[in-house]
């Protein structure tokens, strides 16, 4: 006689316990997505870093320079733009004085000439 099957062998078995990491497929998908995103960002930033010089070279030189200068903290943090007042009126006192020239005895022959411009 063949051996009898163990009791309950044909009975429905409870579902097998899934490994922890597969018990929540959505979580895994999120992790995979996050990993992929980080990788992509790293690759992208690396690409941008590598490609930046060529990109900058094609941009207008002064625009690139402006961007560089304006991001230097010491430049923008320590300098204060000077805004002058409105247009001067004829009654406004002069804000500066001219340092007078010092006279000398002119020679008979000039060294240079001022014809005007």
């Amino acid at each position: 006689m063949p051996p009898s099957p163990p009791p309950g062998a044909d009975a429905p078995r409870p579902p097998r316990q899934l490994p922890a990491r597969t018990r929540h497929p959505a979580s895994r998908a999120r992790r995979l997505t996050a990993t992929t995103s980080v990788t992509a960002m790293l690759l992208l930033s690396g690409y941008l870093a590598l490609s930046a010089p060529s990109y900058a070279a094609t941009a207008a030189a002064d625009e690139v320079a402006a961007a560089v200068v304006t991001t230097v903290p010491t430049t923008t943090a320590t300098s204060t733009p000077i805004t002058m007042a409105a247009a001067p009126t004829t009654t406004e006192a002069p804000t500066t004085t001219t340092t007078a020239a010092v006279a000398a005895e002119p020679a008979a022959q000039a060294q240079t000439t001022s014809k005007g411009s």
């Binding site: 204060t80 002058m84 007042a85 406004e92 500066t96 020679a107 001022s114 411009s117």
Partner: protein
């Protein structure tokens, strides 16, 4: 022992330039020449990559420029205040509107344009395309150590102040490099400092109507500049124009003077004050330069020569001519090749 004297004459900033070094070497001259060329590269509005061209192209935005250019902008705004608006670096639109949209060498060479206007010097015509400027935008220019921002839609024209300031800067450099004395003349904006060839320095003031200098000005230290409506003239479509724009009208100035010379401590101040005197007229000259310790010489349209009282101390007792004779029609040169309207042959 007499100190060595070295000098060069060259073209710079669209003008004749002359540099004299006393007690130095040819290396000082070469350094001065390079410095002048560098300033022109930064300040010319006819070079597309100059600081000034970039500022004009990007008006409304903060643009990084060389420290010398920041100084130029700072001095130009100061000059605007010093002259109560008679000097205004934001009249570029009017200057271009008057036809001065390229270097003077190119201007006189283009079809329909000539540097020498054969008509009477007092004639002033204004093409209908010229428009008076709105209120000056000078007060809205901002800057810091490395950035300059022009108001949107505003153009900056260094004009004469660039030549004067260049003379000041180059003279300072040459002295700092060890020379005993220096004279830098850029288009008639003259700065002297240190020992002159004869102890002091002597600068001749010339007028196109006079065969000999109107004055010989003696300087130990300081500057002299001349502004005139008789040079840098041109015609556009048959209309006469000159480069001295009146900020009040936005048009080439209609003034009772045809030449103004100012003696001051620095060339940039002398230049802008000379422009202001030219615009303000002989009666206002004393008020314009007097409180600022400067001296002025003027020649009006009839050839009458006037000067502030203090100028005599720079003339060594020599009297000024009281009257220069305007040239007759027969004295005028043909347009082609003429150095200036009203110039004597």
């Amino acid at each position: 022992m007499t100190p060595a004297v070295h000098e060069i004459r060259l073209r710079a900033m669209g003008s004749d330039a002359h540099i004299i070094v006393v007690g130095g070497s040819p290396a000082h001259l070469e350094g001065a020449r390079h410095r002048l060329a560098d300033l022109e590269r930064r300040w010319s509005r006819f070079l597309p990559e100059s600081d000034v061209s970039r500022l004009n192209r990007h008006a409304g935005r903060a643009i990084p420029v060389a420290p010398d250019t920041v100084l130029l902008v700072e001095r130009a705004v100061e000059a605007w205040r010093l002259t109560r608006g008679s000097f205004d670096p934001t009249v570029l639109g009017a200057v271009v509107g008057a036809g001065y949209d390229r270097s003077f060498e190119e201007l006189i060479g283009r079809p329909g344009g000539h540097g020498a206007d054969r008509r009477a010097h007092a004639e002033a015509r204004h093409p209908s395309s010229w428009r008076p400027p709105t209120a000056s935008a000078c007060g809205a220019i901002t800057w810091d150590r490395v950035l300059v921002t022009l108001p949107a839609g505003v153009g900056f024209d260094p004009g004469g102040i660039g030549k004067g300031l260049a003379a000041d800067l180059v003279a300072g450099d040459v002295l700092s490099a060890g020379a005993a004395g220096v004279c830098v003349n850029v288009g008639g904006d003259v700065r002297v400092a240190g020992t002159g060839p004869d102890g002091g320095w002597t600068v001749a003031v010339e007028h196109p109507w006079a065969a000999s200098p109107v004055a010989l000005v003696g300087l130990t230290e300081g500057a002299l500049a001349t502004s005139t409506t008789l040079l840098r003239r041109w015609t556009v479509d048959g209309e006469g124009a000159h480069h001295v724009v009146d900020p009040a009208t936005g048009r080439p100035a209609v003034t009772s003077l045809n030449l103004a010379t100012v003696v001051a401590g620095e060339a940039w101040r002398a230049e802008v004050l000379a422009t202001a005197v030219l615009l303000d007229g002989p009666d206002a000259a004393l008020d314009t330069v007097g409180p600022r310790g400067a001296q002025a010489l003027t020649v009006d349209l009839d050839g009458v020569v006037r000067a502030t009282a203090g100028l005599s101390s720079f003339l060594g007792g020599t009297a000024l001519p009281s009257l220069l004779t305007p040239p007759g029609v027969d004295d005028l040169l043909p347009v082609d090749g003429a150095p200036a309207p009203g110039a004597r042959r």
